[in-house]
Subunit: 366 residues, 2 copies
């Protein structure tokens, strides 16, 4: 099996490789939330230790990262090293193959973070470069790149979006006081980070309970150049107010096959009917949604967890004890040894709060 | 007001002071859990940059830290600097005043981490040294020292023990699965750390529910040279099994004034009657308990929190999501903005778990 973190024998990573790949990942990040159904990709061209070109894929239909970077580098690309966060494509899509462009530009070495899971590429881009006698190193910062590409990978490999559950709870595990709609749990830095995630993920999902309790706008606020994620409301009975704030352009109502959603349809809302959550997620992927930020509430979150559909969790811990209150998850019932493990844990302090993130499912590879 | 972190004007801390005070704090830590009603204190004597004597107070009735350190230093104490984690005593107790001993030994400078809150000392030890023309620096690593002395300070200033609530919960805030007595939440490193705390705190407290569910031993296991904390069981109706494992020598039953505790008394258990939790804590302080590790369960913890009696919290977060389950706290009810703040947060990864500690009440000073 291909291990993205292990370089193939005989292909050594240079000390500078991680540094330049970090720059390429930063480039790629600029496309997050904008490229679906394409992946976010970044590229950096380095000539004798100096960056001579940078680029990222801004959105589907526009040129790929390599094209922008090669254009910026011009003649300085000859004999240079190209750092790409995802394997260069080998097939003719809406743009010509990037592997061909790199070959034509005369780069001598290509460093790739992760292989493309798309069966039309998947190793063929690398093979094409090697056939042209270009040295290729694979897997530099591969895990980071795969995490950045989780939405694209999930849609391509599993046919459903990558689901990120986000909640903020007190140090005694409460997301809200009893009967309280929305008392602020975490501080301004945590809310700022949440806004960045809204900017980076394709869609934001809430349940009908949250919609009627809070009437949330589900927009991205305070992020320079930010854009709003696509609102998705899970409302089995289509009983939610079709004039709630969440129903802006592109909003999706996910409801039962037999629900009466006439009022929502009349209001111009996209209605997606599904008998179960996996079907609903497949439907969202068909709409071009690669990643979903699941922002509540406990009922929706519990339903996703029960079916193993939470891929990643991002938890803000607020330094306070509440006592009685609402838990972030209230189902399913299982013994402690049956709890779902969270891996690749990252811990960070953010203002007064602590942010803990981790994965419940593997990021899809091939 | 005296600020332990602020040195008085004109008295500068030297760069080496924090380093040597750290050694003195390490000495003091060796007495943790053994010195009540006295404080844990450490002392290091430094002659021209070299440590020539170390000492700590091992238990009440034995010599103080300064006496051990001066004895080790011998004639090398003359012209030396003494680092003491607590202001040297100025009064004749079971041992002669340490301030006098330092003067007699001829030290030229004394660095003190924190003032003694005991009204019989409280500044007089420092004054005595200054009257003898010894230079005194105050407040070096003062906050750390005060935290180490929290039990002593609490008993002296407030007449009740310092209460440390400890629990382990999942990333969705659950301490146990529904109906489950004791499924392991956290990993071996977290359990090892808990054992160290049992060794360091004077007493360990549980409620009658935990006693009957788990029949816990409440002992210190796997700590070299460790000793067991005094078991305290809160059991208002005195209905717990008087032959449970917790009832070893020194164990205390805290019960209502009118409860029938004849069986417990017959079993040789110390019975302490109190009408309310503050009374119970005062009674424990009278028994020489300066610090209590509150290990459960949710009912007892909630009662302490409701009355503002939790001074410090130590929470292990296990990287897993459970779904339904028991919350660490289930009362009192209050709005989110009325939650009790946790300050001086420290975050640490420990094996697979994350440890978060913080203070709810100030460490008593004077």
């Amino acid at each position: 099996m291909y291990e993205v973190n292990a370089l193939p024998p005989g292909v050594a990573a240079l000390p500078a490789d991680e540094r330049f790949m970090t720059l390429a990942l930063e480039q790629a990040a600029r496309g997050l939330g904008r490229t679906a159904p394409n992946p976010p990709v970044g590229c950096v061209i380095v000539q004798q230790g100096t960056v001579v070109g940078r680029g990222f894929h801004p959105r589907a239909g526009e040129p790929h990262a390599e094209a922008f970077a090669l254009r910026a580098a011009g003649a300085r690309a000859r004999g240079a090293v190209a750092y790409v966060t995802l394997e260069p494509c080998s097939h003719h899509g809406r743009t010509p193959p990037c592997a061909d462009a790199l070959i034509a530009a005369g780069v001598r070495r290509v460093v790739v973070a992760a292989l493309d899971p798309n069966p039309r590429v998947s190793g063929r881009g690398v093979q094409k470069l090697r056939d042209a006698r270009i040295e290729v190193a694979l897997g530099v910062l591969g895990a980071q790149a795969e995490r950045q590409q989780a939405g694209f990978r999930s849609a391509v490999v599993r046919g459903r979006p990558w689901v990120v559950a986000k909640y903020a709870m007190t140090l005694d595990g409460k997301v809200a006081a009893p009967g309280e709609a929305n008392g602020a749990v975490s501080g301004p830095e945590a809310r700022g980070r949440t806004m960045r995630w809204r900017d980076e993920l394709d869609a934001i999902a809430v349940g009908s309970g949250t919609l009627s309790l809070d009437d949330p706008a589900l927009t991205t606020r305070g992020v320079p150049g930010g854009r709003d994620p696509r609102p998705v409301v899970f409302d089995r009975r289509a009983a939610s107010d079709p004039h709630a704030r969440a129903w802006r352009d592109g909003a999706v109502l996910v409801t039962a096959p037999d629900a009466d959603a006439a009022a929502h349809e009349a209001a111009g809302i996209t209605v997606q009917r599904a008998a179960c959550l996996p079907d609903a997620l497949r439907g969202l992927a068909d709409l071009g949604v690669g990643s979903v930020l699941l922002e509540g509430g406990p009922t929706l979150l519990s339903a996703f967890l029960a079916q193993g559909l939470v891929d990643e969790v991002r938890v803000f811990l607020a330094p306070k004890l509440l006592g009685a209150g609402l838990s972030p998850l209230s189902a399913p019932e299982r013994p402690m040894h049956g709890a779902q493990a969270v891996r690749d844990l990252r811990v960070e302090t953010l203002g007064v709060d602590v942010l803990i993130t981790g994965l419940l499912n593997d990021i899809p590879r091939i």
